[in-house]
Structures are given as structure tokens and as C-alpha cells.
């Protein structure tokens, strides 16, 4: 490793990336992927709190049917839009890749940094710019379209705030593309000696597949959002039936991105789970290749199924049938992963620290979310369930029960590496119990409500839905409490946590071979890889 750089001497053990340069400015201008990851952490957590505030507002409002509502119908729609848009575009999509991915990917590859560190910092600021642009619509000109911006309502009827929100999402999409690009090149070009493609950790396979989706799908969202902006500002009429446009085309464009986007949300989560399951089962993962390639398979199939969001949009029966069948195929690679995780745990030495609990929570909740997805993918049933609370419950099980559980598990798992301190395991477990219980209390009743016919996106409901709605609201406060405990545990860990050893969980991937926290350049000497990532026995 001969580098012409002169200032590469960071051999001392007490010298790490956290104290490599101090002061706020050294963070704001850092090119270190680990610091950029933590900056995303802080940003995304803040946005999550804001999105959560809207969620609790919505739920509180729905606790009572009829008069004396907390929110008037207009405000309700705006709360719902900001809740959805923030959670999707600013929390779940960037959450795992931009935060955990940035921190972990280069270290797991044995690289000193991502391929383009300056681009990495630029993506962060582009993300911030996009988030601020979107947020400005909260202040100047609120939007009530829902996060899907369906036309013609979004282009012909509602306020001009849509332009701000949409351009903000466009900007964040640009950031997402650049991050994905950076990860792909890093994975191809910066692997340590001996780290062949079939030795890269499964987290990397997941992030790699995600990056492919980001690069192939996000441009379509970009053009769709630009067209909405142009339509609103210039009246170009591409989606407005009054002018000859076709609102269904918008749905095709939108879901051509947004269905793959649900895999941008869930694939990285699956990567995290693969790491957690092996580390806490102390066993070589079962079916490495199957898990790795199923990520790529999911990425590929995700592009062919967007039409399942449009069964009742008036597309042809044949199209509906085809989309329905292809959608079921996604279940295959997903099930492969699930069974391999279970086989890994079988006869492993399983321990149940907080990260593992979140991993199990993921498997449980994601399975429910996935199975109810099969209901929705059957054209006949979807006619009944479409746009009811069944859908709300389904996507919360997948996105929150899946992605957020993995994110929390990942945070507690890599926390010692990030900060060189341990979190309180008890704190993590309490947080898990509250979130897991609260989650089921909140969203399970919504399956029933949906089956009973309660429509989504309505600010009020019929009296017979009252009880289940109240249960759901109680659950939402349990979730809120759970995240609060989680936050306190994390802050307590940062401030007062015990000093972490280099490899507290006894895991085998490369990030655990360096110090906690790692030095500025990740490793004092570049590691050479001689075995697969999970060689326990």
C-alpha cells in the first residue's frame, strides 16, 4: 500500500476518527465516511421525531369519532401528507444505506473510505438542501396530497406548495443516486486484498443491490417529480385530463419508482438482519450464496411489479393478472432469506441481547407484513382491501416492523464500533419490548378495521370503528415511549457508556477486527482476507 500522501501516520491506539480533528467545522467539512454516516444519523433521527410528531397527532385525532376533533379536515390531510412524506423520503429511504451503510460499508470491505469521499459529503448536503426545500412547504404553502402526489389533484387542484415538496424530493433523490453510485464503485474497486465477491459480507450484498435499484429507479422518479413541478408551474398538461393528459400515466411512472423504492427500504434491512443473526448465533450463515443472490433477484423482480398498486385504476384485466403473478414471485427470494436465517439459528449458540431481539422482531413483523402483501397482490382481494386500513397496516408492518426494527437493531449492534462505548443492554431490551408490543397493539387492529371497510386517509370514521381505533391510539403511545427509551439509552451510552472492546459480540466481519472506535483510516494496516465473512466453525 504505497501512497504518496505524507500525513498518513495514525498508529496510536487512542487516536480515532472521533478525535481526529475537533470542533464543529471539522465535522461539517469532513470527508470521513464514518463521520458522514453519523451526520446522517443525527439528521435522520431529527426528521424521524418530526414525522413521529405528525403520526401521534393523526392517531390522537382518530381516537375519537365524530365532533370535537383535534384537527380540522384540512389540517388532518396536511398532517397525513407530512407524516408520510417525511417518513418515506427522509427516514426510511436514507436511514439504513446513508447512515449505517456509510459507516459500515468501507470498513467491511477493508477500504480506507468510499471511492468518492467528496461526493459523499456533497450527497449529504444535497440531502439537507432537499429536506429544507420540502420542509419549506410546511411553512409557506402546506400540501395535502398524501406522499403519493396523485394527479390530477396534485397538479390541477391543490396549492402551489406541491412544487416545493416535489422539488425537495427530487433533490433528495439526487442525493440518493449519488450515494448509490458511490457504494457500487466502492464495492467494485476498493475491496481489501483477498476480499473476493463471494467473501463480501451479506450487508454489502444488500447495499449493493439497493444501490442498483437507486440508480435505475430514482431517475424515473426524478422526471416524474419534475413533470409535476412543470405541470403545476406551466400547466403543461401531461397528467391533467382537462388538457388531454393522462393521470394514470402518472401512476405508472410513480410506482415504477416507488415499488422498487420499497426494496430500497427493505433490502438494506435484510442485510442488517443477516449480520445480526450470524453474530448472535455464533454460527456460519446457512446458504450464503442463496442470501446474496436473492438480494439481487429481489432487486431485479422489483422492477416488474409496479402495477399491483394500480389494480383498481382501470388498467386491463390482463395487466392486472400479469402483475399479480409476478408480484407473487417476490415471495420466493424473500422466503429463501427467511428460511436461511432460521436455519442459521437452528443449533446455533443463540443469545438474546438487544440487537438480536430487534432481529427477531424484524422476522416476526416482516413475515406478517409480507404475508398480508400476498392478499393485496391477489387482484380480487385487493378490490376489497384497496385504500383501506388494511393497506395502512400492511405497509406499516413492512416498513416500520421491517426496516425500523432492523435500523434499531443495527444501531445497537454497531454502536460500540461507532462510539467506542457500550449501550445499556437493559435499556435496549426495554425499548424493544415497548416498541414491539406497541407496534402490534397499534397496527394489528388496523388489519381488522381495513377488513371491516374503514377507508384510509379519512379524518373521521363510523361509530362502529371506535373501539379498534382507540386501541390503535393507545398502541401508538407505547411505540412513542419505546423510541423515547431507545433515544435515552443511546444518549446515555454516548455520555456514560462503558468502554467497548474491539469485538464485543465476537463477530467475524472486518469491522470488528479494528479498534473501537476505528482510526481515521479504518485500519492501521490494510487487512488481508483469507476466509469468508462468517467462518465461525
Amino acid at each position: 500500500m504505497s501512497s504518496a500522501q505524507t500525513k498518513t501516520e495514525h498508529g496510536h491506539t487512542d487516536h480515532n476518527y472521533l478525535n481526529h480533528g475537533s470542533g464543529i467545522w471539522s465535522w461539517m467539512t469532513t470527508l470521513d465516511h464514518k463521520r458522514i454516516g453519523l451526520m446522517y444519523f443525527a439528521t435522520v433521527s431529527t426528521l424521524f421525531l418530526i414525522g413521529g410528531f405528525f403520526a401521534l397527532g393523526i392517531r390522537l385525532h382518530l381516537a375519537k369519532f365524530g365532533a370535537t376533533p383535534l384537527l380540522d379536515p384540512d389540517t388532518y390531510n396536511k398532517f397525513m401528507t407530512f407524516h408520510g412524506a417525511i417518513m418515506v423520503f427522509m427516514v426510511i429511504i436514507p436511514g439504513i444505506p446513508a447512515f449505517l451503510g456509510n459507516f459500515i460499508l468501507p470498513i467491511q470491505l477493508g477500504a480506507k473510505d468510499v471511492a468518492f469521499p467528496r461526493l459523499n459529503l456533497a450527497s449529504y448536503y444535497i440531502f439537507i438542501a432537499g429536506a429544507l426545500l420540502s420542509a419549506s412547504s410546511m411553512i409557506f404553502n402546506q400540501v395535502d396530497t398524501g406522499w403519493t402526489f396523485y394527479t390530477p389533484y396534485s397538479t390541477a387542484k391543490t396549492s402551489n406548495g406541491v412544487i416545493l415538496l416535489v422539488m425537495g424530493a427530487f433533490t433528495m433523490g439526487f442525493s440518493s443516486i449519488l450515494t448509490g453510485l458511490n457504494f457500487i464503485v466502492t464495492t467494485h474497486k476498493l475491496r481489501a486484498p483477498g476480499m473476493t465477491m463471494d467473501r463480501i459480507p451479506l450487508m454489502i450484498w444488500a447495499l449493493y443491490s439497493t444501490s442498483i435499484i437507486q440508480i435505475l429507479a430514482t431517475p424515473i422518479l426524478a422526471i416524474t417529480l419534475l413533470l409535476i413541478g412543470a405541470e403545476k408551474a406551466l400547466g403543461v398538461g401531461i397528467f391533467d385530463p382537462d388538457l388531454g393528459g393522462d393521470p394514470i400515466l402518472f401512476q405508472h411512472f410513480f410506482w415504477f419508482y416507488s415499488h422498487p423504492a420499497v426494496y430500497i427500504m427493505i433490502l438494506p434491512a435484510m442485510g442488517v438482519i443477516s449480520e445480526l443473526i450470524t453474530a448472535f448465533s455464533k454460527k456460519t450463515i446457512f446458504g450464503y450464496r442463496a442470501i446474496a443472490y436473492s438480494s439481487v433477484a429481489i432487486a431485479a423482480v422489483s422492477f416488474l411489479v409496479w402495477g399491483h398498486h394500480m389494480f383498481v385504476s382501470g388498467q386491463s384485466t390482463l395487466a392486472g393478472l400479469v402483475f399479480s403473478i409476478i408480484t407473487m414471485f417476490v415471495g420466493v427470494p424473500t422466503a429463501i432469506k427467511l428460511f436461511n436465517w432460521i436455519s442459521t439459528m437452528y443449533r446455533g449458540t443463540v443469545t438474546f441481547e438487544a440487537p438480536m431481539l430487534f432481529a427477531l422482531g424484524f422476522m416476526f413483523l416482516f413475515t406478517i407484513g409480507g404475508l398480508t402483501g400476498v392478499f393485496l397482490a391477489s387482484t380480487g382481494m385487493d378490490v376489497h382491501f384497496h385504500d383501506t386500513y388494511f393497506v395502512v397496516a400492511h405497509f406499516h408492518y413492512v416498513m416500520v416492523g421491517g426496516t425500523l426494527m432492523a435500523l434499531m437493531g443495527g444501531i445497537f449492534y454497531w454502536f460500540p464500533k461507532m462510539f467506542g462505548k457500550m449501550t445499556s443492554d437493559l435499556g435496549g431490551r426495554i425499548s424493544w419490548v415497548l416498541i414491539f408490543t406497541g407496534f402490534n397493539v397499534t397496527f394489528f387492529p388496523q388489519f381488522i378495521l381495513g377488513a371491516m371497510g374503514m377507508p384510509r386517509r379519512y379524518f373521521d370514521y363510523l361509530p362502529e370503528y371506535t373501539n379498534l381505533n382507540q386501541i390503535s391510539t393507545v398502541g401508538s403511545w407505547l411505540i412513542g415511549l419505546g423510541f423515547l427509551v431507545g433515544l435515552i439509552t443511546i444518549i446515555h451510552g454516548i455520555l456514560k457508556g462503558e468502554k467497548a472492546p474491539n469485538n464485543p459480540w465476537g463477530a467475524k466481519t472486518l469491522e470488528w477486527q479494528t479498534t473501537s472506535p476505528p482510526p481515521h483510516e479504518n485500519f492501521t494496516t490494510t487487512p488481508t482476507v483469507t476466509a469468508g465473512p462468517y467462518d465461525f466453525r
Partner: protein
């Protein structure tokens, strides 16, 4: 830190093994980015093709009102710029900084010429009223309440006023074409696509010119040369994609009629 020393010796970034390694990585990154650009325009092309088949007459009549001569000149301008850009890369690789800088300056000049011609095209359209939806109406408030069809468009108002026609340099031939356009329902669709597609492309031309200016400065300061020319080559690839998009836009918009 791309720590490039003044001319001869180039230090690659610390996380790469060698200058070649860094170059190969950068090139992969640039190509991936260009794929996303092409995909983004791809969405527009798909939309264009769909509406073209839905409203063939609208698109035919609309396309006949575009000035294909201006479009053709612009095509030539861009092709020339592609050539000068390629030459610039070649000269930088051979260490001929002065002539490379001249080539880059010529490329920027072509980009400028392209935008000036675009400006004339656009402004004529604003005058005669072949503009996207909202602005095509004389009185947009009249469109409120779904009564769009009964509203008078800018073109029909113009066509009734010979003095205005003269002032705006509208030939009799053009009058016939304009009449053909507004005889069709939904005629604004075509101009919606025209402005969005050429507008987005125009933004790319401006961005490309700024990038070329950036490598132009680098070339003058000899920050690039035979050992390190990645930025010039990357910008060059971007510029070729901008050209390429135009090569498709031109026949689709101006010649399909």
C-alpha cells in the same frame, strides 16, 4: 484531496492503490451517473411516444410549427462542440495545454451559440402563443371552472389581428400552420412536451458549459495533464450525452410531422 502538484507529478488519493486505480474508479462512477441521466430523459421519451400515438395529428401539426432550420443549425453547433471537446481531451492527454484550452473555449462558445439560438426560438413562440397550457390562454381565469374549450387562446387572438401578425414576423405560411394547430383539441399537449424536453435539455447545456469552464480553468492552471485528465474526460463524456439527447430530440420534435 486530489492533491495534484503543479504539472508533472500527480498524487492519487490516499484510499486508492495507484493513479490507474483511481482513474478506473472515477470512470466507473461517471458512467453510472450518465446512465441515470439517460434513464431520466428516457422517462420523457416514453411519455412523448405515448402521447404521440394518442394524438398523432396534434403532434404532426405542432411539429410543423417548429422552425426546423434553427433546430438543424443547433444540431450542427452541438456536433461541432462534440468534436472540439473530444479534441480538447486528446490535447490534454498529450500535454498540449494551450491548444486544449482553445478547444475548450470553442466548446463553451458553441454551448453559448446553442442557447442564443434557443432564445430566438423560444421568444418567437412566446410571441405567437405556442406555449404550454396555462400561458396559451389570453385570459387564464377563463379556464377556471372547466370552461377551457371556450377560452380564447393567444394564437387565435393573434390571428385576428393583422398588425400584430406583422409585428411578430408571422408569415402567411406560418398563419396556415398555426390555424391547423388550433383546429385540433388538446393542441397544447405538444408544446408541453416541447418545452419540458428542450427546457430540461437546455438546463443540461448550461450545466455542461459551466463544467467545461471549470476544466478550462484547470487546464489553464495546468492542474490536468498527461498523468491526470479524469475531470476533462468526465466532463467530456457528460457533454457527449447532452449532445446525444439532442440528436434524438431534434428529429422527434422537429421532423416527425
Amino acid at each position: 484531496m486530489t492533491s495534484v502538484s503543479s504539472s508533472s507529478e500527480f498524487h492519487h488519493q490516499h484510499h486508492f492503490k495507484s493513479a490507474d486505480h483511481q482513474y478506473a474508479s472515477s470512470k466507473q462512477g461517471i458512467w453510472l451517473f450518465l446512465c441515470t441521466e439517460i434513464l431520466m430523459f428516457g422517462g420523457l421519451f416514453v411519455g412523448y411516444l405515448i402521447y404521440h400515438s394518442l394524438y398523432p395529428t396534434v403532434f404532426k401539426n405542432g411539429s410543423e410549427t417548429l422552425d426546423w432550420k434553427m433546430g438543424a443549425v443547433n444540431t450542427v453547433v452541438l456536433l461541432v462542440s462534440s468534436f472540439t471537446m473530444a479534441a480538447a481531451i486528446n490535447y490534454v492527454q498529450r500535454g498540449l495545454h494551450k491548444i486544449a484550452a482553445v478547444m475548450l473555449a470553442l466548446t463553451i462558445a458553441c454551448a453559448g451559440a446553442f442557447m442564443v439560438i434557443k432564445y430566438f426560438e423560444y421568444s418567437h413562440k412566446f410571441h405567437v402563443g405556442t406555449v404550454p397550457g396555462k400561458f396559451s390562454l389570453v385570459d387564464p381565469s377563463c379556464a377556471a371552472g372547466g370552461k377551457r374549450a371556450e377560452c380564447e387562446s393567444k394564437i387565435s387572438a393573434l390571428l385576428k389581428n393583422p398588425a400584430e401578425l406583422e409585428k411578430n414576423h408571422v408569415s402567411t405560411e406560418e398563419v396556415t400552420r398555426l390555424k391547423a394547430v388550433i383546429s385540433q383539441p388538446k393542441w397544447e399537449m405538444f408544446y408541453g412536451f416541447y418545452f419540458v424536453m428542450t427546457g430540461l435539455h437546455g438546463i443540461h447545456v448550461v450545466a455542461g458549459a459551466l463544467l467545461i469552464f471549470w476544466v478550462f480553468i484547470k487546464t489553464l492552471r495546468r492542474k490536468v495533464g498527461p498523468e491526470y485528465y479524469t475531470p476533462v474526460e468526465g466532463v467530456g463524456l457528460f457533454w457527449h450525452v447532452v449532445d446525444l439527447v439532442w440528436i434524438y430530440l431534434f428529429p422527434l420534435l422537429y421532423l416527425v410531422g
